[in-house]
Amino acid sequence: MKIFKALNTSVGKKIAMAITGLSLALFMVFHLIGNLNLFLGPEAFNGYVLKLKKLGFLIRIAEAGLLSFVLIHVYSGIVLWLKNKRAISKTPSYSITSTPRASRYTLLTGSFVFIFLVMHWSTFWYKFNFSKGNKTYYEIVLGPEVGFGNIYYTLFYIIAIGLLGYHLKHGFDSAGQTLAIKGTKYEKTYYSLAAVFWFWIPFGFISIPVYFGIILRLLG
Protein backbone atom coordinates (compact mmCIF):
# COMPACT_ATOMS: atom_id res chain seq x y z
CA MET A 1 0.00 0.00 0.00
CA LYS A 2 1.04 3.57 -0.72
CA ILE A 3 0.87 4.59 2.92
CA PHE A 4 3.44 1.97 3.95
CA LYS A 5 5.64 2.94 1.04
CA ALA A 6 5.40 6.54 2.21
CA LEU A 7 6.03 5.71 5.86
CA ASN A 8 9.09 3.76 4.81
CA THR A 9 10.72 6.95 3.54
CA SER A 10 12.44 9.52 5.70
CA VAL A 11 9.87 12.15 4.72
CA GLY A 12 7.03 9.81 5.70
CA LYS A 13 8.61 9.30 9.10
CA LYS A 14 8.96 13.04 9.51
CA ILE A 15 5.28 13.44 8.77
CA ALA A 16 4.42 10.75 11.33
CA MET A 17 6.65 12.54 13.80
CA ALA A 18 5.02 15.89 13.10
CA ILE A 19 1.45 14.54 13.44
CA THR A 20 2.19 12.68 16.67
CA GLY A 21 4.28 15.56 18.05
CA LEU A 22 1.60 18.16 17.38
CA SER A 23 -1.11 15.90 18.80
CA LEU A 24 0.91 15.46 21.98
CA ALA A 25 1.42 19.21 22.15
CA LEU A 26 -2.34 19.69 21.79
CA PHE A 27 -2.97 17.11 24.50
CA MET A 28 -0.74 19.15 26.79
CA VAL A 29 -3.23 22.02 26.60
CA PHE A 30 -5.98 19.86 28.11
CA HIS A 31 -3.59 18.32 30.59
CA LEU A 32 -2.60 21.79 31.74
CA ILE A 33 -6.17 22.99 32.15
CA GLY A 34 -6.76 19.96 34.40
CA ASN A 35 -3.59 20.57 36.40
CA LEU A 36 -4.45 24.21 37.03
CA ASN A 37 -7.30 22.94 39.23
CA LEU A 38 -4.58 22.51 41.87
CA PHE A 39 -4.62 26.26 42.37
CA LEU A 40 -8.35 26.10 43.18
CA GLY A 41 -7.74 23.82 46.15
CA PRO A 42 -8.17 20.13 47.11
CA GLU A 43 -11.89 19.81 46.32
CA ALA A 44 -11.55 21.20 42.84
CA PHE A 45 -8.57 19.01 41.98
CA ASN A 46 -9.87 15.78 43.55
CA GLY A 47 -13.25 16.37 41.93
CA TYR A 48 -11.60 16.84 38.54
CA VAL A 49 -9.63 13.59 38.82
CA LEU A 50 -12.75 11.71 39.91
CA LYS A 51 -14.66 13.09 36.93
CA LEU A 52 -11.96 11.75 34.63
CA LYS A 53 -12.10 8.38 36.38
CA LYS A 54 -15.84 8.16 35.74
CA LEU A 55 -15.12 8.09 32.01
CA GLY A 56 -13.76 4.59 32.66
CA PHE A 57 -12.61 2.72 29.58
CA LEU A 58 -12.66 5.89 27.46
CA ILE A 59 -9.74 7.11 29.51
CA ARG A 60 -7.94 3.82 28.97
CA ILE A 61 -8.41 4.16 25.21
CA ALA A 62 -7.12 7.71 25.29
CA GLU A 63 -4.12 6.61 27.33
CA ALA A 64 -3.34 3.79 24.92
CA GLY A 65 -3.59 6.30 22.05
CA LEU A 66 -1.25 8.74 23.74
CA LEU A 67 1.25 6.01 24.56
CA SER A 68 1.28 4.77 20.98
CA PHE A 69 1.76 8.35 19.75
CA VAL A 70 4.73 8.77 22.06
CA LEU A 71 6.20 5.48 20.84
CA ILE A 72 5.70 6.30 17.16
CA HIS A 73 7.24 9.74 17.72
CA VAL A 74 10.24 8.41 19.60
CA TYR A 75 10.77 5.52 17.19
CA SER A 76 10.75 7.79 14.11
CA GLY A 77 12.95 10.32 15.90
CA ILE A 78 15.59 7.71 16.72
CA VAL A 79 15.51 6.05 13.27
CA LEU A 80 15.99 9.41 11.55
CA TRP A 81 18.68 10.50 13.97
CA LEU A 82 20.65 7.32 13.23
CA LYS A 83 20.18 7.89 9.51
CA ASN A 84 21.51 11.42 9.86
CA LYS A 85 24.56 10.21 11.78
CA ARG A 86 25.37 7.82 8.94
CA ALA A 87 24.82 10.48 6.30
CA ILE A 88 27.47 12.88 7.47
CA SER A 89 31.04 12.48 6.28
CA LYS A 90 33.50 10.53 8.41
CA THR A 91 35.92 13.41 8.01
CA PRO A 92 34.47 16.22 10.05
CA SER A 93 34.08 19.50 8.28
CA TYR A 94 36.41 22.18 9.56
CA SER A 95 33.71 24.61 8.81
CA ILE A 96 31.59 26.48 11.27
CA THR A 97 27.94 25.48 11.14
CA SER A 98 25.23 27.98 11.78
CA THR A 99 22.34 25.59 12.46
CA PRO A 100 19.84 26.86 15.05
CA ARG A 101 20.73 25.37 18.40
CA ALA A 102 17.27 24.06 19.34
CA SER A 103 17.24 21.89 16.22
CA ARG A 104 20.57 20.26 17.06
CA TYR A 105 19.43 19.07 20.43
CA THR A 106 15.98 17.68 19.62
CA LEU A 107 17.03 14.09 20.26
CA LEU A 108 18.72 15.06 23.50
CA THR A 109 15.84 17.18 24.81
CA GLY A 110 13.35 14.58 23.56
CA SER A 111 15.17 11.75 25.33
CA PHE A 112 15.18 13.67 28.58
CA VAL A 113 11.45 14.23 28.17
CA PHE A 114 11.02 10.50 27.58
CA ILE A 115 12.83 9.63 30.82
CA PHE A 116 10.62 12.17 32.53
CA LEU A 117 7.49 10.60 31.02
CA VAL A 118 8.46 7.13 32.25
CA MET A 119 9.00 8.56 35.70
CA HIS A 120 5.76 10.53 35.49
CA TRP A 121 3.79 7.38 34.73
CA SER A 122 5.53 5.25 37.33
CA THR A 123 4.80 7.85 40.00
CA PHE A 124 1.64 9.97 39.56
CA TRP A 125 -0.15 7.73 37.11
CA TYR A 126 0.65 4.50 38.97
CA LYS A 127 -0.25 5.92 42.36
CA PHE A 128 -3.47 7.49 41.10
CA ASN A 129 -4.57 4.18 39.63
CA PHE A 130 -3.16 1.42 41.80
CA SER A 131 -1.64 2.50 45.08
CA LYS A 132 -3.56 5.50 46.24
CA GLY A 133 -3.86 4.23 49.83
CA ASN A 134 -5.97 6.55 51.93
CA LYS A 135 -4.45 9.70 50.45
CA THR A 136 -6.37 12.05 48.19
CA TYR A 137 -5.06 12.88 44.70
CA TYR A 138 -4.27 16.37 45.86
CA GLU A 139 -2.15 14.99 48.70
CA ILE A 140 -0.22 12.69 46.35
CA VAL A 141 0.63 15.48 43.93
CA LEU A 142 1.82 17.83 46.64
CA GLY A 143 3.18 15.15 48.97
CA PRO A 144 6.79 14.40 49.85
CA GLU A 145 6.94 10.93 48.26
CA VAL A 146 6.61 11.52 44.52
CA GLY A 147 5.01 14.95 44.61
CA PHE A 148 6.11 18.55 44.80
CA GLY A 149 6.81 18.13 48.50
CA ASN A 150 9.99 16.49 47.25
CA ILE A 151 12.50 19.13 46.16
CA TYR A 152 14.42 16.78 43.84
CA TYR A 153 11.28 15.71 42.08
CA THR A 154 10.19 19.35 41.84
CA LEU A 155 13.47 20.41 40.24
CA PHE A 156 13.49 17.44 37.86
CA TYR A 157 9.95 18.31 36.80
CA ILE A 158 10.85 21.94 36.14
CA ILE A 159 13.91 21.02 34.10
CA ALA A 160 12.06 18.37 32.07
CA ILE A 161 9.20 20.69 31.16
CA GLY A 162 11.68 23.44 30.36
CA LEU A 163 13.48 21.12 27.95
CA LEU A 164 10.17 20.07 26.43
CA GLY A 165 9.52 23.75 25.72
CA TYR A 166 12.92 23.96 24.06
CA HIS A 167 12.12 20.80 22.08
CA LEU A 168 8.93 22.41 20.85
CA LYS A 169 10.69 25.68 20.03
CA HIS A 170 12.14 23.91 17.03
CA GLY A 171 9.54 21.13 16.82
CA PHE A 172 6.51 23.35 16.32
CA ASP A 173 8.24 25.40 13.62
CA SER A 174 9.52 22.30 11.91
CA ALA A 175 6.14 20.58 11.93
CA GLY A 176 4.64 23.56 10.06
CA GLN A 177 6.99 22.85 7.18
CA THR A 178 6.74 19.06 7.40
CA LEU A 179 2.94 19.15 7.23
CA ALA A 180 2.98 21.77 4.47
CA ILE A 181 1.04 24.29 6.56
CA LYS A 182 3.59 26.84 5.42
CA GLY A 183 2.46 28.51 2.24
CA THR A 184 -1.24 27.98 2.91
CA LYS A 185 -3.75 30.49 4.28
CA TYR A 186 -3.34 28.88 7.75
CA GLU A 187 0.34 29.74 7.91
CA LYS A 188 -0.06 33.00 9.85
CA THR A 189 -2.42 31.52 12.43
CA TYR A 190 -0.22 28.49 12.86
CA TYR A 191 3.02 30.37 13.43
CA SER A 192 1.34 32.90 15.69
CA LEU A 193 0.53 29.95 17.98
CA ALA A 194 4.18 28.86 18.19
CA ALA A 195 4.94 30.78 21.38
CA VAL A 196 1.79 29.43 23.02
CA PHE A 197 3.09 25.91 22.55
CA TRP A 198 6.76 26.30 23.19
CA PHE A 199 6.56 28.96 25.88
CA TRP A 200 3.19 29.56 27.51
CA ILE A 201 2.02 25.96 27.94
CA PRO A 202 5.32 24.80 29.47
CA PHE A 203 5.27 27.99 31.56
CA GLY A 204 1.84 26.99 32.86
CA PHE A 205 3.05 23.51 33.79
CA ILE A 206 6.13 24.89 35.52
CA SER A 207 4.10 27.43 37.52
CA ILE A 208 2.67 24.56 39.57
CA PRO A 209 5.90 23.06 40.97
CA VAL A 210 7.33 26.56 41.32
CA TYR A 211 4.39 27.66 43.45
CA PHE A 212 3.74 24.52 45.49
CA GLY A 213 7.25 23.10 45.58
CA ILE A 214 9.37 26.22 45.93
CA ILE A 215 7.44 29.38 46.82
CA LEU A 216 5.25 27.74 49.48
CA ARG A 217 8.29 25.93 50.87
CA LEU A 218 10.27 29.16 51.17
CA LEU A 219 7.29 30.83 52.85
CA GLY A 220 7.35 27.91 55.32
Binding site: N8, V11, A87, I88, S93, I96, S98, T99, Q177
Partner: protein
Protein backbone atom coordinates in the same frame (compact mmCIF):
# COMPACT_ATOMS: atom_id res chain seq x y z
CA UNK B 1 46.88 41.15 -3.38
CA UNK B 2 48.47 38.29 -1.45
CA UNK B 3 46.47 35.22 -0.44
CA UNK B 4 47.20 32.41 2.01
CA UNK B 5 45.51 29.14 1.22
CA UNK B 6 44.91 26.03 3.30
CA UNK B 7 43.83 23.44 0.79
CA UNK B 8 42.57 19.93 1.53
CA UNK B 9 44.73 17.40 -0.32
CA UNK B 10 43.55 13.81 -0.57
CA UNK B 11 44.49 11.28 -3.26
CA UNK B 12 41.32 9.18 -3.01
CA UNK B 13 38.33 8.45 -0.76
CA UNK B 14 40.06 5.60 1.05
CA UNK B 15 43.22 7.49 2.00
CA UNK B 16 43.52 10.11 4.68
CA UNK B 17 43.68 13.71 3.58
CA UNK B 18 45.32 16.76 5.08
CA UNK B 19 45.48 20.51 4.71
CA UNK B 20 48.46 21.93 2.84
CA UNK B 21 49.44 25.61 2.95
CA UNK B 22 50.11 27.64 -0.17
CA UNK B 23 50.82 31.30 -0.66
CA UNK B 24 50.15 33.36 -3.76
CA UNK B 25 51.48 36.86 -4.18
CA UNK B 26 50.47 39.73 -6.46
CA UNK B 27 47.10 38.30 -7.39
CA UNK B 28 44.90 40.63 -9.44
CA UNK B 29 41.73 41.21 -7.36
CA UNK B 30 39.62 41.16 -10.51
CA UNK B 31 40.37 37.58 -11.50
CA UNK B 32 37.92 34.88 -10.55
CA UNK B 33 38.46 32.47 -7.70
CA UNK B 34 39.01 29.55 -10.07
CA UNK B 35 41.50 31.59 -12.11
CA UNK B 36 43.39 32.13 -8.88
CA UNK B 37 43.47 28.32 -8.47
CA UNK B 38 44.61 27.99 -12.11
CA UNK B 39 47.54 30.25 -11.28
CA UNK B 40 48.32 28.12 -8.24
CA UNK B 41 48.17 24.95 -10.37
CA UNK B 42 50.46 26.41 -13.05
CA UNK B 43 52.92 27.19 -10.32
CA UNK B 44 52.61 23.68 -8.84
CA UNK B 45 53.09 22.04 -12.23
CA UNK B 46 56.20 24.12 -12.87
CA UNK B 47 57.52 23.02 -9.50
CA UNK B 48 56.75 19.38 -10.47
CA UNK B 49 54.09 19.05 -7.79
CA UNK B 50 50.60 17.57 -8.14
CA UNK B 51 48.09 20.28 -9.09
CA UNK B 52 44.98 20.76 -6.93
CA UNK B 53 41.98 18.94 -8.40
CA UNK B 54 38.72 20.89 -8.44
CA UNK B 55 35.61 20.57 -10.59
CA UNK B 56 34.54 23.22 -13.08
CA UNK B 57 33.03 23.43 -16.52
CA UNK B 58 31.00 26.44 -17.63
CA UNK B 59 32.56 28.97 -15.26
CA UNK B 60 29.44 31.04 -15.66
CA UNK B 61 27.27 29.69 -12.87
CA UNK B 62 24.96 27.45 -14.84
CA UNK B 63 26.36 23.92 -15.00
CA UNK B 64 26.72 23.01 -11.33
CA UNK B 65 30.15 21.43 -11.71
CA UNK B 66 32.06 23.70 -9.40
CA UNK B 67 31.75 23.87 -5.67
CA UNK B 68 33.81 23.44 -2.52
CA UNK B 69 33.93 25.02 0.90
CA UNK B 70 35.71 28.33 1.47
CA UNK B 71 36.11 29.06 5.17
CA UNK B 72 33.20 26.79 6.01
CA UNK B 73 30.78 28.13 3.43
CA UNK B 74 29.81 26.20 0.30
CA UNK B 75 30.82 28.35 -2.71
CA UNK B 76 32.35 30.91 -0.36
CA UNK B 77 31.05 34.03 1.32
CA UNK B 78 29.19 35.78 -1.48
CA UNK B 79 25.45 35.25 -1.45
CA UNK B 80 23.78 33.61 -4.44
CA UNK B 81 27.10 33.02 -6.20
CA UNK B 82 28.80 29.85 -7.39
CA UNK B 83 32.51 29.63 -6.72
CA UNK B 84 33.23 30.07 -10.45
CA UNK B 85 31.50 33.45 -10.34
CA UNK B 86 33.28 34.56 -7.22
CA UNK B 87 36.08 37.10 -7.64
CA UNK B 88 39.15 37.70 -5.58
CA UNK B 89 37.90 41.21 -4.82
CA UNK B 90 35.45 39.56 -2.42
CA UNK B 91 38.46 38.99 -0.15
CA UNK B 92 41.05 41.15 1.56
CA UNK B 93 44.78 41.30 1.04
CA UNK B 94 46.54 38.62 3.18
CA UNK B 95 43.29 36.71 3.89
CA UNK B 96 43.59 33.13 5.14
CA UNK B 97 41.30 30.88 3.11
CA UNK B 98 40.53 27.29 4.02
CA UNK B 99 39.33 25.20 1.09
CA UNK B 100 37.83 21.78 1.64
CA UNK B 101 35.55 19.52 -0.39
CA UNK B 102 31.80 19.26 0.17
CA UNK B 103 31.58 16.78 3.01
CA UNK B 104 28.89 14.10 3.02
CA UNK B 105 28.95 10.30 3.14
CA UNK B 106 27.04 10.29 -0.16
CA UNK B 107 29.66 12.53 -1.81
CA UNK B 108 32.86 10.44 -1.64
CA UNK B 109 36.04 12.35 -2.41
CA UNK B 110 37.45 11.72 -5.89
CA UNK B 111 40.55 13.80 -5.31
CA UNK B 112 41.33 16.96 -3.34
CA UNK B 113 38.36 19.30 -3.75
CA UNK B 114 36.48 17.13 -6.21
CA UNK B 115 33.68 14.88 -4.95
CA UNK B 116 31.55 12.25 -6.66
CA UNK B 117 27.98 13.59 -6.89
CA UNK B 118 26.52 10.81 -9.01
CA UNK B 119 24.15 10.08 -6.14
CA UNK B 120 22.26 13.19 -7.38
CA UNK B 121 22.06 11.72 -10.89
CA UNK B 122 20.55 8.53 -9.50
CA UNK B 123 17.86 10.55 -7.68
CA UNK B 124 16.94 12.19 -11.00
CA UNK B 125 17.03 8.86 -12.83
CA UNK B 126 14.50 7.40 -10.43
CA UNK B 127 11.76 9.85 -11.40
CA UNK B 128 12.91 13.37 -12.26
CA UNK B 129 11.52 13.30 -15.78
CA UNK B 130 8.23 13.24 -17.70
CA UNK B 131 7.24 10.36 -19.97
CA UNK B 132 5.90 12.15 -23.01
CA UNK B 133 6.34 11.54 -26.67
CA UNK B 134 8.80 13.86 -28.25
CA UNK B 135 8.57 14.73 -31.90
CA UNK B 136 7.12 17.87 -33.32
CA UNK B 137 6.75 20.66 -30.78
CA UNK B 138 3.06 20.91 -29.78
CA UNK B 139 1.07 24.09 -30.20
CA UNK B 140 2.22 26.27 -27.32
CA UNK B 141 -1.23 27.54 -26.40
CA UNK B 142 -2.75 24.09 -26.13
CA UNK B 143 -1.48 23.55 -22.60
CA UNK B 144 -2.35 26.47 -20.40
CA UNK B 145 -0.01 27.26 -17.53
CA UNK B 146 -0.88 29.96 -14.99
CA UNK B 147 1.78 32.66 -14.87
CA UNK B 148 2.44 32.12 -11.15
CA UNK B 149 3.04 28.41 -11.71
CA UNK B 150 5.32 29.09 -14.63
CA UNK B 151 7.34 31.55 -12.54
CA UNK B 152 7.57 29.22 -9.54
CA UNK B 153 8.53 26.26 -11.74
CA UNK B 154 11.22 28.38 -13.33
CA UNK B 155 12.66 29.32 -9.94
CA UNK B 156 12.74 25.63 -8.94
CA UNK B 157 14.29 24.61 -12.24
CA UNK B 158 17.12 27.07 -11.57
CA UNK B 159 18.74 24.42 -9.33
CA UNK B 160 22.06 23.48 -10.95
CA UNK B 161 22.60 20.34 -8.86
CA UNK B 162 25.84 21.55 -7.32
CA UNK B 163 25.38 19.89 -3.93
CA UNK B 164 26.02 22.96 -1.78
CA UNK B 165 22.74 22.32 0.03
CA UNK B 166 24.00 18.90 1.18
CA UNK B 167 27.30 20.42 2.29
CA UNK B 168 25.52 23.14 4.26
CA UNK B 169 23.21 20.74 6.09
CA UNK B 170 24.07 19.34 9.50
CA UNK B 171 22.41 16.07 8.41
CA UNK B 172 23.86 16.03 4.87
CA UNK B 173 20.29 16.01 3.60
CA UNK B 174 19.51 16.33 -0.10
CA UNK B 175 15.98 17.60 0.47
CA UNK B 176 16.49 20.99 -1.18
CA UNK B 177 17.91 19.46 -4.35
CA UNK B 178 15.32 16.67 -4.53
CA UNK B 179 12.44 18.99 -3.71
CA UNK B 180 13.41 21.50 -6.39
CA UNK B 181 13.59 18.69 -8.95
CA UNK B 182 10.17 17.42 -7.85
CA UNK B 183 8.71 20.95 -7.73
CA UNK B 184 9.57 22.14 -11.20
CA UNK B 185 7.71 19.14 -12.61
CA UNK B 186 4.78 19.00 -10.21
CA UNK B 187 3.99 22.68 -10.75
CA UNK B 188 3.38 22.16 -14.47
CA UNK B 189 0.57 20.22 -16.13
CA UNK B 190 3.04 17.99 -17.99
CA UNK B 191 4.43 16.74 -14.70
CA UNK B 192 1.13 16.03 -12.97
CA UNK B 193 0.53 12.61 -14.45
CA UNK B 194 3.44 10.90 -12.72
CA UNK B 195 3.42 13.13 -9.63
CA UNK B 196 2.46 10.48 -7.07
CA UNK B 197 4.90 7.86 -8.28
CA UNK B 198 7.62 10.43 -8.76
CA UNK B 199 7.70 11.74 -5.21
CA UNK B 200 7.73 8.26 -3.69
CA UNK B 201 10.46 7.02 -6.00
CA UNK B 202 12.72 10.04 -5.73
CA UNK B 203 12.45 10.26 -1.95
CA UNK B 204 13.13 6.52 -1.65
CA UNK B 205 16.22 6.87 -3.84
CA UNK B 206 17.38 9.87 -1.86
CA UNK B 207 17.14 7.70 1.28
CA UNK B 208 18.86 4.73 -0.34
CA UNK B 209 21.72 6.92 -1.47
CA UNK B 210 22.40 7.60 2.19
CA UNK B 211 21.48 11.27 2.46
CA UNK B 212 20.19 12.42 5.85
CA UNK B 213 16.69 13.60 6.64
CA UNK B 214 15.53 17.19 6.72
CA UNK B 215 15.11 18.92 10.07
CA UNK B 216 13.82 22.11 8.53
CA UNK B 217 16.59 24.44 9.63
CA UNK B 218 16.90 26.26 6.31
CA UNK B 219 20.73 26.14 6.22
CA UNK B 220 20.54 24.83 2.63
CA UNK B 221 18.58 27.75 1.17
CA UNK B 222 20.87 30.20 2.94
CA UNK B 223 23.88 28.77 1.09
CA UNK B 224 22.29 27.81 -2.24
CA UNK B 225 23.92 29.74 -5.11
CA UNK B 226 20.58 29.76 -6.93
CA UNK B 227 18.58 30.77 -3.84
CA UNK B 228 16.28 27.74 -4.09
CA UNK B 229 13.70 28.38 -1.37
CA UNK B 230 12.25 26.30 1.44
CA UNK B 231 8.91 26.47 -0.38
CA UNK B 232 10.25 23.60 -2.48
CA UNK B 233 10.63 21.40 0.60
CA UNK B 234 7.11 22.31 1.65
CA UNK B 235 5.95 21.28 -1.83
CA UNK B 236 7.76 17.93 -1.62
CA UNK B 237 6.13 17.22 1.76
CA UNK B 238 2.75 18.16 0.31
CA UNK B 239 3.31 15.92 -2.71
CA UNK B 240 4.13 12.99 -0.44
CA UNK B 241 1.05 13.59 1.72
CA UNK B 242 -1.05 13.88 -1.46
CA UNK B 243 0.37 10.66 -2.85
CA UNK B 244 -1.05 8.83 0.15
CA UNK B 245 -4.36 10.64 0.63
CA UNK B 246 -5.78 10.59 -2.90
Amino acid sequence: MNINLNIWRQTKESTAGKFVRYRLENIDPNISFLEMLDILNNKLIKEKQEPVVFDHDCREGICGSCGFMINGQPHGPQKATTVCQLHMRAFQNEDELTLEPFRAASFPVIKDLSVDRRSFDRIILSGGYVDINTGEAPEANLIKVPKTNADEAFLSAACIGCGACVAACKNSSAMLFTSSKISHLSLLPQGKKEAKERVLKMVATMDDEGFGSCTNTGACSAECPKEISQANIVRLNKELIKSVID
